[in-house]
């Protein structure tokens, strides 16, 4: 029985590693991989549906100040906000890409530009 494992070990000696040599080989993300949440403020209609849908309470929408706030430390990247974003806006996306490590516990605030289309 030991021969099976020995055979495997010998095969492994002459085959490519199963793991990726990460920093040298880039990671290939799939289309559906959930990553950082981004909001296209040009398209956003400040409806605050995403704020209600967020189970972690990471999002904040201020209709008066026309801002959209995300607390990256609270976000659990479940994608509930992306799915709740109304069809006429579709401003929220999740980008599966490497994001720099957050070092400060602050919220990121985005303001809707004044000259964008009115909702």
């Amino acid at each position: 029985m030991g021969y099976i494992i020995t055979g495997m070990a010998l095969k492994n000696l002459f085959s490519k590693p199963v793991t990726k040599r990460y920093p040298h080989e880039p990671i290939v993300y799939t289309e559906r991989t959930r990553g950082h949440v981004y909001n296209d403020m040009e398209k956003c209609i400040i409806c605050s549906i995403c704020e209600k849908a967020c189970p972690a309470g990471a999002l904040g929408v201020d209709k008066e100040a026309r801002t959209w706030t995300i607390d990256r430390f609270s976000c659990v990247q479940c994608g509930a906000c992306v799915r709740s974003c109304p069809p006429k806006a579709q401003s929220l996306i999740m980008k599966p890409e490497y994001a720099p490590v957050a070092t400060k516990m602050t919220s990121e605030v985005f303001t809707k530009p004044e000259d964008s289309l009115e909702d």
Binding site: M1, M8, T30, R32, A53, P55, V76, G79
Partner: protein
């Protein structure tokens, strides 16, 4: 008569991924009694139903445990669907079974790897986890997450899997099965593995019934009990279902049951993919659970039967939500199997029930 001493075991121990504490009463090298103590990672998730509405809570149930993440979101969703009398599209039911069985494959491969690691077979451990990686890749491709899937929701599933991709999944699993068969031979026929597992942690059928143990732990003691055989949800599409049972009653039996269940799960996925109904995968859910409505659901998680109870109060928050997880049932049986075993067998013995303390404490 030798003097009795108490050795504390855990909450931190190399074989334990999660904290459980045992007071082992030792006489010479034999364990006379094991007193378990849990409560190190209680997070009060059941209480959170009062703070999160029933649609958001599905993301919390997913985070109860990393390995049964899909199983818990499935259990919660189907309980709420029963509570609100929602009819889920049949394709969603089929897809749920595919993901649920995939998570069983990944859970059992993880456990087999941990078992191999516990008796010092490093190579086997790595081979098991190498195979498991393919299941995680399928998860990432189809749902976007490797562990926390966020795929199941009240009213259906969030993502559809195209028919071509379903066939691709079956192909991957068939390729995996060929390699897995070789590993299975090592687990079930190798002398060194058998000498470590045979006769360790014996729990007879009568004792298993008495302690009410569930899942592979019970099936390894000869109890033919698997909730999937009642055909809940998408399991109704299956022609027949026979639980995997072993009469060995020891660690080897538990290893055998789990090893065979991987084949069973792959066969279930194959059958479901063939019979996959077409149509939509999600329906819009409106309204809230009615006041005083109650629902009970039983599910077969990788570790055994899981029980869900929900009660509505007319608002979007639930009145009460309760989960009784398989490990919660199995801890008593585990403490019994420890009685009379060698001190050196204790870590392996605890591992054979596949403890998931995060689940048990919620």
């Amino acid at each position: 008569m030798a003097e009795r001493t108490v050795i504390p075991f855990g909450p931190h121990h190399p074989v334990l991924p999660e904290p459980i504490h045992l007071d082992l009463v030792i006489e010479d090298e034999k364990v006379v009694e094991a007193i378990p103590q849990i409560g190190f990672i209680h997070r009060g998730l059941e209480k959170l139903v009062e703070k999160r509405d029933y649609k958001s809570y599905v993301y919390i149930t997913e985070r109860i445990c990393g390995i049964c993440a899909f199983g818990h979101s499935l259990g919660y969703s189907e309980t709420i669907e029963a509570l609100m009398e929602i009819e889920v599209p049949p394709r969603a039911l089929g897809l749920r079974v595919v993901w649920h069985e995939l998570s069983r494959v990944h859970s059992h491969l993880l456990w087999l790897g941990l078992l191999a690691d516990a008796f010092g077979f490093e190579n086997l451990f790595m081979q098991c986890w190498r195979l498991r990686e393919r299941v995680l890749d399928i998860f990432e491709r189809t749902t976007g997450g490797r562990v926390i899937l966020s795929a199941c929701n009240v009213g259906g599933v969030n993502h559809d899997i195209a028919d071509d991709e379903l066939k691709g999944i079956v192909e991957v699993l068939e390729g995996m099965m060929r390699e897995y068969k070789v590993l299975c031979k090592t687990f079930l026929k190798d002398k060194s593995v058998a000498s470590r597992l045979r006769g360790v942690g014996i729990l007879t059928k009568e004792e298993a019934e008495g302690f009410g143990v569930v899942g592979p732990f019970a099936r390894a003691s000869g109890i033919a009990e698997d909730i999937r055989m009642f055909g809940y949800g998408g399991y109704g599409f299956l022609e027949s279902f026979e639980p995997v049972v072993s009469d060995e009653c020891d660690g080897y039996g538990r290893c055998k049951v789990r090893a065979d269940e991987v084949f069973q799960s792959i066969n279930i996925i194959k059958e479901i993919v063939q019979k996959m109904p077409s149509g939509e995968v999600m329906i819009k859910v409106k309204g809230s659970p009615a006041a005083g409505s109650r629902a009970v659901m039983r599910f077969e998680q990788p570790r055994g039967e899981c029980f869900y109870y929900a009660k509505g109060n007319g608002t979007k928050f639930l009145e009460r939500f309760r989960i009784r997880t398989p490990t919660f049932m199995n801890v008593a049986g585990m403490a019994h199997t420890l009685q009379g075993c060698d001190l050196a067998d204790v870590p392996l013995n605890i591992l054979t029930i596949d403890p998931c303390i995060s689940c048990a404490e919620r």
